[in-house]
C-alpha cells in the first residue's frame, strides 16, 4: 500500500460499454474515499452501452475536489479493460511516466468486424504502448474471469492487479468492505477470488 501519493493522483479506467467500467471506478472511488481522500470521478456513459469507448477519470486528493476531466498528459495510472482503449487513452492523457495496466482481450470495433479496418496484434499493441510509457503490464483478465464463471469479473481482476502495483493507498480489506456493500451476499466470494487472482497475476510478472 502506498500512502504518499502525489496530489492530485489521476487514474483513468477505460474500456468499452458493458465491461463494468463504471462499477470499477465507483469501487475504487469508494475505497479511496474510505481512506479519507477527496475523490472526484468523471464518467462518460449514456450511449456507452452501444459499442462506444467508456472512460472514468478519477482524481484523488487530500485537499479538494478537482475537475472531473483530467488534463492531457496528466494520467498517473491507466487501467484499460480493452487493449486498443489502452492505446487511445494513453495517447490522449498519458506521458512517459504514466503506468498502464491493460487487459489483453479485444472487443472489436464494428468497422473491424465489417472488414473496413484492422485490429492490431497483441505484439503491436505492446510495442505501441512501449513507445508511450516506461511501465506497461498486460494480463488476460477476461480469460481469467471466464475461469471464474463470468467475463464481467475482468474489472475486479484488474482492480486486484492495481492493488498489487502498490501505486495506490488501498488494501484487500478495503476492497472486501466495499464489495460487501455493493453486491449480493452470494457474489462476495467470487469477487474476492477475482481480486486475489488479479493481484497474483500481476505479482507473477
Amino acid at each position: 500500500m502506498n500512502d504518499s501519493i502525489k496530489d492530485p493522483f489521476n487514474i483513468i479506467i477505460t474500456g468499452v460499454g458493458g465491461q463494468g467500467n463504471v462499477m470499477a471506478s465507483r469501487i475504487l472511488g469508494a475505497m479511496l474515499s474510505r481512506r479519507g481522500y477527496r475523490v472526484t470521478i468523471g464518467e462518460t456513459f449514456g450511449v456507452s452501452q452501444r459499442g462506444g469507448s467508456v472512460m472514468s477519470h478519477l482524481r484523488i486528493s487530500k485537499k479538494s475536489a478537482w475537475s472531473p476531466q483530467i488534463p492531457r498528459g496528466k494520467a498517473d495510472v491507466i487501467v484499460a479493460l480493452e487493449p486498443i482503449e489502452a492505446i487511445r487513452t494513453t495517447a490522449a492523457y498519458g506521458s512517459p511516466e504514466s503506468k498502464v495496466l491493460a487487459n489483453t482481450r479485444p472487443i472489436y470495433p464494428v468497422q473491424v468486424i465489417a472488414g473496413e479496418t484492422e485490429y492490431p496484434s497483441q505484439e503491436t499493441i505492446e510495442e505501441s504502448l512501449g513507445r508511450l510509457v516506461r511501465w506497461a503490464k498486460f494480463l488476460n483478465a477476461t480469460g481469467e474471469a471466464l475461469l471464474l464463471g463470468n467475463a464481467i469479473l475482468g474489472n475486479v481482476i484488474m482492480i486486484g492487479a492495481l492493488s498489487a502495483m502498490e501505486a495506490l493507498p488501498f488494501t484487500r480489506a478495503d476492497f472486501e468492505s466495499v464489495i460487501t456493500g455493493s453486491v449480493t451476499a452470494d457474489k462476495i466470494g467470487v469477487n474476492m477470488q477475482a481480486f486475489d487472482r488479479g493481484a497474483a497475476l500481476l505479482k507473477k510478472q
Binding site: V16, G18, R26, G29, A30, S33, R38, V39, T40, I41, G42, E43, T44, F45, G46, V47, Q49, R50, G51, G52, S53, A65, W66, S67, P68, Q69, I70, P71, R72, G73, I84, E85, I87, R88, T90, A91, A92, G94, S95, P96, R105, I107, Y108, P109, V110, Q111, V112, I113, A114, G115, T117, Y119, T124, I125, S128, R131, L132, T142, L146, A151
Partner: protein
C-alpha cells in the same frame, strides 16, 4: 436502503451530482418529484422513486416533460414543495407551461432542474436551457461542484417560496454524471399537508386562483420578483471569488467550467495574476457584484458551456457601468478565445488563459504528442456506435431495410428518439433518413403522407419506441389518422424506456415507485384511431418481413406495425440467452462462399466476428446475447442455434 435517506447529517459521502441534487431536495422537504427520463438527468427521479414509499414522497415518470412540470406545479399550488427534472431539450417541451407558470407564480417551493449535455455526449443536440430562464423571466442558478449541487438545491426551494415563482437550477453532464464527496445536512421532520386555496381575492398569490390574467398586472409583478431575486443574488454565498484583489485577468465562469478554470490557473501557476469569479446565480445577474469585480481587473475571460450566456449578459450589463469601471478587454466565444460549441475541459481553458497571459504551456513534449497521435490514429480505431448484441432494433432495421429494398419505390423512414436513432448509421443499415425531436418522426411522416397530390410516390414510414410513442407520437398519430396520411409507423416496442435505463412508461403495468399502474395498450390506442395494426416478433425475420410487405402493399391509410421484443439489457432479458449460437466451421465457407461475408460485413453484430486467421465467422461467446437472429442471416445455414437452457 439508500444513502439518500440513510446518510447522516454532517457526514461526507462519495455520490453522483444527481444524488447530491436528490438529497438536497429531500433536505428541503420535497413532497412531489416528476420528470421524463433523459441523460444526464434520469438518476434524480430514479433514486427519489426508489425511496419514495418509505420517505413519504410521490414520485412519477410523467408521460413527457410538460406534464411532469404540470404535476410538480400542482403540488406547489397545493402548498407542497416539488421538483421537476429533465434533459436540456425537455425544457423546450415544457416551455409553454413554464412561460405561463412564471406569470401565475407558485406557492410551495418549486424547482425545475434541467441537466444540459454540452458536447452532446448522450444527446443529438447541444441545447441550452439557460436562455429559457431569461426568456421566460424566472431565476436561474447553477451549482459549481458536488457540494453546491446539494446546497443550492436545498436553497432553491427557499428562494422559490420567497419569490413565489419557479426557480431553474441548471446542471450539466460533468456534474450530474460525475461524483464527488458531499457533506449531507439534516432531513426535515413532518411533511406538509396539501390543500389548494382558490377562493381568496383574485390577485392574492396565496389564496386566489392560479392564473396569468390580468397579464399587465401579473407580468409586472413577475418582473418585480426578478428584481428582488437580483437583490438577493448580490450577496449570495454561491457567488465566490478567489484570486488577487487586482487581477490582471478576471475569469467569469459557472457550473463545471469553474472546476476547469481553477485547474487552469493552478496548472499555469497564475494564482497571483488571475482571479476567478464563479457565479452560482446566473440570471438575473448580480450587477453590483459584477461592477466591483470588473472595476478591479483589466482583462475579462468568460468560461462557460455551451452558448455565450454569461458573456453576452455580462457585457450588456457592463455597457451600463463602463463609465465607472473603465474600458475592459473581453475574451470568450465572441473573439474565438473559447470554442463556440462543444464541451470544454481543463486543456481548453489552460490554452485560452495561456494565450491571454503569454504563458508557455506544453502538457507533454512536442515529439511525444506527435508519436502518440500517430500511434492512436493507426491502431485505435474510433469505435462507431452500434446496437448491442441481441438488440431487437438490429433485427427490426434489417427487416425494414429489406422490405423497402424489395418494394423498390425509394421508400424511406423518418427517425425518432431512442437507441433506434442509431438506425441512421451502418448498424441500422442506414435506414433512417430524418432525425429531430421526440415524436417528430411521425409528425414528419404525417406531412410526407400528404404529398401524393404533389407527385410524391415514395412509401412513407416512421419508427417510434414505446416510451416515445406516449411522450409525443400520439398527437402526431392523431394528426396522421385524422387527415388520412398514407404512412406506416413501425413501433419498436422493447418493453421500457430502454436507452435511459428502463424507466417505466404508461404502457407498463408498473410505475416509477415500483407499484402497480394501469398499462395502456399501444395497439389498442392505434386501432381506436382507425389505423390498421399488425404485431410481430422482429427476431422472426422471415415472418415479420412477409407481414410488413403486406402492410406496405396495402398502400393507403395510417398503418402500424408493432415489433415486440424486449431490450437485450432489460432486467427480464439481460444475461438470459434464448439460444446458444455457434458457427459450424464445416459449413462456413468463408471468403469462398460467395455470400460476401453478409454476416459480418453487413449485419455487424459486435458478437459475430470475422476470424482472419481461420477465414471464417466466429461467435464471441463473451459478447453474444443469444438472440439467434444471425442464424437467419447466413445464406448457407452455417450459423447454428440451439435453444438455451433457461436459468
Amino acid at each position: 436502503m439508500s444513502v439518500l435517506t440513510n446518510g447522516k447529517s454532517g457526514e461526507e459521502y462519495l455520490v453522483m451530482g444527481n444524488d447530491a441534487i436528490a438529497r438536497g431536495a429531500l433536505e428541503a422537504g420535497v413532497s412531489v418529484a416528476a420528470g421524463y427520463p433523459g441523460t444526464p438527468s434520469s438518476e434524480i427521479i430514479e433514486n427519489l422513486a426508489r425511496i419514495a414509499p418509505d420517505a413519504g414522497l410521490y414520485v412519477e415518470w410523467s408521460v413527457n416533460e410538460k406534464v411532469a412540470l404540470e404535476v410538480a406545479a400542482a403540488a406547489s399550488f397545493a402548498g407542497l414543495r416539488s421538483i421537476c427534472t429533465m434533459k436540456q431539450n425537455g425544457v423546450n417541451v415544457a416551455s409553454d407551461f413554464l412561460l405561463h407558470l412564471g406569470i401565475s407564480g407558485t406557492r410551495g417551493g418549486m424547482v425545475i432542474v434541467p441537466c444540459d449535455d454540452p458536447g452532446a455526449l448522450s444527446s443529438i443536440n447541444e441545447g441550452e436551457s439557460r436562455h429559457f430562464a431569461r426568456l421566460l423571466e424566472i431565476p436561474l442558478i447553477e451549482p459549481g461542484d458536488f457540494q453546491e449541487a446539494l446546497e443550492m438545491t436545498r436553497w432553491a426551494f427557499d428562494l422559490s417560496e420567497e419569490l413565489r415563482m419557479p426557480v431553474m437550477m441548471r446542471s450539466v453532464t460533468r456534474l450530474s454524471h460525475a461524483s464527488g464527496n458531499v457533506r449531507f445536512g439534516p432531513l426535515p421532520g413532518a411533511a406538509r399537508s396539501a390543500r389548494f386555496e382558490y377562493d381568496g381575492p383574485f390577485l392574492d398569490p396565496l389564496t386566489g386562483p392560479m392564473v396569468t390574467m390580468p397579464v399587465p398586472v401579473r407580468h409586472k409583478n413577475q418582473q418585480e420578483k426578478i428584481r428582488k431575486a437580483e437583490a438577493i443574488f448580490e450577496t449570495s454565498p454561491f457567488n465566490t471569488y478567489e484570486g488577487p484583489e487586482q487581477p490582471e485577468v478576471l475569469i467569469i465562469t459557472c457550473s463545471a467550467c469553474s472546476l476547469y478554470s481553477r485547474e487552469a490557473v493552478k496548472e499555469l501557476g497564475l494564482g497571483e495574476r488571475a482571479g476567478i469569479l464563479k457565479l452560482g446565480t446566473t440570471w438575473p445577474l448580480p450587477k453590483k457584484l459584477l461592477k466591483s469585480r470588473l472595476a478591479a481587473a483589466e482583462k475579462i475571460l468568460f468560461v462557460e458551456e455551451v452558448l455565450p450566456f454569461l458573456e453576452e449578459n455580462v457585457m450588456a450589463a457592463a455597457a451600463g457601468f463602463m463609465g465607472e469601471t473603465g474600458l475592459k478587454r473581453f475574451y470568450g466565444k465572441a473573439d474565438g478565445t473559447i470554442p463556440e460549441s462543444g464541451e470544454l475541459n481543463p486543456d481548453i481553458v489552460i490554452a485560452a488563459l495561456a494565450k491571454i497571459t503569454g504563458t508557455q504551456y506544453e502538457p507533454v513534449a512536442h515529439e511525444y504528442a506527435r508519436t502518440a497521435q500517430e500511434i492512436a490514429s493507426k491502431h485505435a480505431t474510433v469505435r462507431d456506435l452500434t446496437f448491442c448484441p441481441g438488440c431487437p432494433h438490429r433485427a427490426s432495421f434489417w427487416i425494414i431495410h429489406n422490405v423497402l429494398e424489395l418494394d423498390n419505390r425509394k421508400g424511406f423512414v423518418c427517425g425518432d428518439i431512442g437507441c433506434y436513432t442509431l438506425g441512421l448509421l451502418p448498424c441500422g443499415f442506414g435506414t433512417l433518413k430524418t432525425s429531430h425531436s421526440m415524436g417528430s418522426g411521425t409528425g414528419l411522416a404525417s406531412g410526407f403522407g400528404q404529398l401524393r397530390r404533389f407527385g410524391m410516390e415514395q412509401p412513407v414510414l416512421t419508427v417510434s419506441g414505446d416510451s416515445t410513442f406516449f411522450h409525443a407520437v400520439i398527437p402526431a398519430m392523431v394528426n396522421a389518422a385524422h387527415h388520412g396520411s398514407d404512412i406506416i409507423l413501425a413501433l419498436l416496442d422493447n418493453a421500457g424506456t430502454a436507452m435511459t435505463g428502463f424507466q417505466s412508461h404508461p404502457g407498463m403495468p408498473v410505475n416509477a415507485q415500483g407499484e402497480g399502474a394501469v398499462p395502456l395498450d399501444i395497439s389498442e390506442i392505434c386501432r381506436s384511431l382507425g389505423a390498421a395494426v399488425e404485431t410481430s416478433d422482429p427476431f422472426d425475420l422471415e415472418g415479420t418481413e412477409r407481414k410488413f410487405l403486406a402492410l406496405l402493399e396495402r398502400g393507403k391509410g395510417t398503418r402500424v406495425m408493432v415489433l415486440k421484443q424486449p431490450c437485450a439489457l432489460s432486467p427480464e432479458r439481460k444475461g438470459k440467452k434464448l439460444y446458444e449460437v455457434r458457427v459450424d466451421p464445416a459449413k462456413c465457407l468463408g471468403d469462398d462462399c460467395g455470400c460476401g461475408r453478409i454476416c459480418t460485413r453487413v449485419f455487424r453484430c459486435p458478437a459475430l466476428v470475422w476470424d482472419r486467421d481461420a477465414g471464417r465467422a466466429r461467435v464471441d461467446e463473451v459478447l453474444c446475447a443469444g438472440c439467434g437472429v444471425c442464424s437467419s442471416v447466413c445464406t448457407n445455414g452455417a450459423i447454428l442455434r440451439e435453444e438455451a437452457a433457461q436459468k
